[in-house]
């Protein structure tokens, strides 16, 4: 049986979505002339500022294009659903974002994205634009601790992009922007849980099978299998299981500060996210870790998948300053 979706044509979903987004956010966003899959911040790029280009497959909205705006990313390259954009729109983003001080490419660590962004970086070099790449690898479930560089980038993108975008906005040097971007990634940890599958608009078939009473801890944002499947547990039990893994890796001391993101994978409602956040706060209180800021909602979705993720960013003074720095994007504002 096909899943139900409000669409016109499964092959046109990305382009029709972009039309709708540009219609809704004309003050923040524009697409490149001749490269409609390159979305640019209207008042982002400027001379002397390190440019920040993000991007990846569609289906994760508001990731990526929702985080394009002044103080965050200068441009986003948009791929097909769950598929990396090709090099051309990425290159156009790099040109638009370049203010002569270098361009950072930041995106989740997936084989396809790496190939396409690397090809775009080689092409940008021929146009005398220096590109450096910082991959996000916040998904604790996707590889063991000693193979952090193999992990996927998921909802923690939001914190990592935010910190890097603030560094660029503050007109820091290319070296400094890159250092802060890497540090933000190193300090960010995410765990997810999936309850029911999503379906691609082209197939409208569930992209994995899961029993009506089952959940899968650690599932990826494209339905990649996670680390354990089991019976659906209570919100507190699920949250504890995810938080245990995160806290174990993050190893915060009493008195440390974190930022919290409770993210819906698509169809899990705010009610359930806030129930999870209640537990996160209780547990952090127990270990003497204070919450500097909390975001709850849809930040990195997986179409209509049911489930959620918990992300903590381990803050120091510098990362806290970056998170607090104002930004004004189509789908996110701070300060």
């Amino acid at each position: 049986m096909q899943t139900k979706k409000i669409i016109n044509d499964g092959n046109r979903t990305v382009d029709e979505m972009l039309e709708g987004i540009l219609a809704a956010h004309p003050r923040h966003l524009k697409s490149m002339e001749g490269s409609p899959r390159s979305i640019i911040a209207r008042d982002g790029p400027r001379q002397g500022k390190v440019g920040l280009v993000i991007g990846g497959g569609s289906g994760h909205e508001p990731t990526f294009l929702g985080f394009v705006g002044k103080g965050l990313a200068d441009a986003a390259a948009i791929g097909n659903v769950f598929a990396s954009p090709p090099p051309d729109p990425i290159l156009e983003c790099a040109k638009a974002a370049s203010g002569g001080a270098g361009v950072l490419f930041m995106y989740g660590n997936y084989a396809g994205d790496v190939m396409n962004f690397d090809m775009a970086a080689e092409m940008a070099a021929m146009d005398d634009i220096e590109v450096r790449t910082v991959l996000t690898t916040d998904d604790v479930a996707s590889a063991p601790r000693d193979q952090r560089q193999k992990r996927r980038g998921v909802a923690g993108n939001f914190f990592i992009f935010k910190a890097a975008g603030a560094a660029c906005e503050r007109m820091l040097s290319f070296d400094e922007c890159e250092r802060i971007a890497r540090k933000a990634n190193d300090h960010t940890f995410t765990m997810g849980v999936a309850l029911s599958p999503c379906s691609l608009p082209q197939t409208r078939r569930p992209n994995f099978e899961i029993g009506p009473d089952e959940m899968e801890i650690g599932m990826g944002i494209h339905g990649e299998p996670g680390i354990a499947r089991g019976k659906l547990k209570t919100a507190d039990e699920i949250t504890d299981e995810m938080l245990d893994k995160i806290v174990d890796e993050m190893a915060p001391a009493r008195g440390d500060k974190v930022a919290v993101l409770i993210n819906s994978l698509g169809s899990t409602p705010l009610m359930e996210l806030y129930i999870m956040n209640r537990r996160v706060k209780q547990r952090l209180d127990d270990i003497g870790v204070s919450v500097h800021a909390t975001w709850v909602g849809n930040y990195c979705t997986s179409l209509e998948m049911a489930g959620a993720s918990v992300t903590l960013m381990h803050l120091d003074a510098e990362l806290q300053t970056m998170l607090d720095h104002p930004c004004d994007c189509a789908m996110f504002r701070a300060g």
Binding site: S84, P86, Y110, T203, G223
Partner: protein, 212 residues
Amino acid sequence: MTSIDAADLKRMFDAIAVAIEADKDRLCQLDGVIGDADHGIAMALGFGAVRDALAPLELTATEPTVLLNTAAKSFLNAVGASSGPLYATAFMRGAAAVKGKATLAGADVVALFQAMAQGIQDRGKAEIGEKTMVDAWLPAAQAAAAAHAAGKTLSESLAAALEAAERGAEATKDMIAAKGRSSRLGERSLGHIDPGAASAVTVIGAMRKSLA
């Protein structure tokens, strides 16, 4: 004496597009088991774009190299993903391998085939045994070269390539993925054929049928 020109290559790409379109659902299902279920979509999109890009070419005035580069660019820009850079690199390397030739002899087609496989391996940085399309493409290229060196016809050489690709794809069932999205599965990827290797068999099968 084999003589493959741009019109033959266009027919080959058309045949690949038809074969992949027919195979789309199976490829998505294979990908759904160990990946994100979109491999058939990406491949069909890519070869559909190639067909559309080649359609307006004036074939009598087009060298194989130009046709292959057109195929590369259209595939890449339609798809992105992993298969975009991999197949685009394959076609660009194939284009470079036959540069300056108006028609291709059997030896040229075998060289083109080998360049394609090498391009895929270079772009994806995968080795044999890592459960990727390289496990089909590399043995296929080696088999085609060996058959050609042993004096076989192009048709026989491509048949040998297809057999080797089929064996290679089948062997991915017993491999633990070491590259790409499924590499995060570890042993859970065992027992499942790699969708990229499966589609490589479909592509090579269509090439053999069309060029034979």
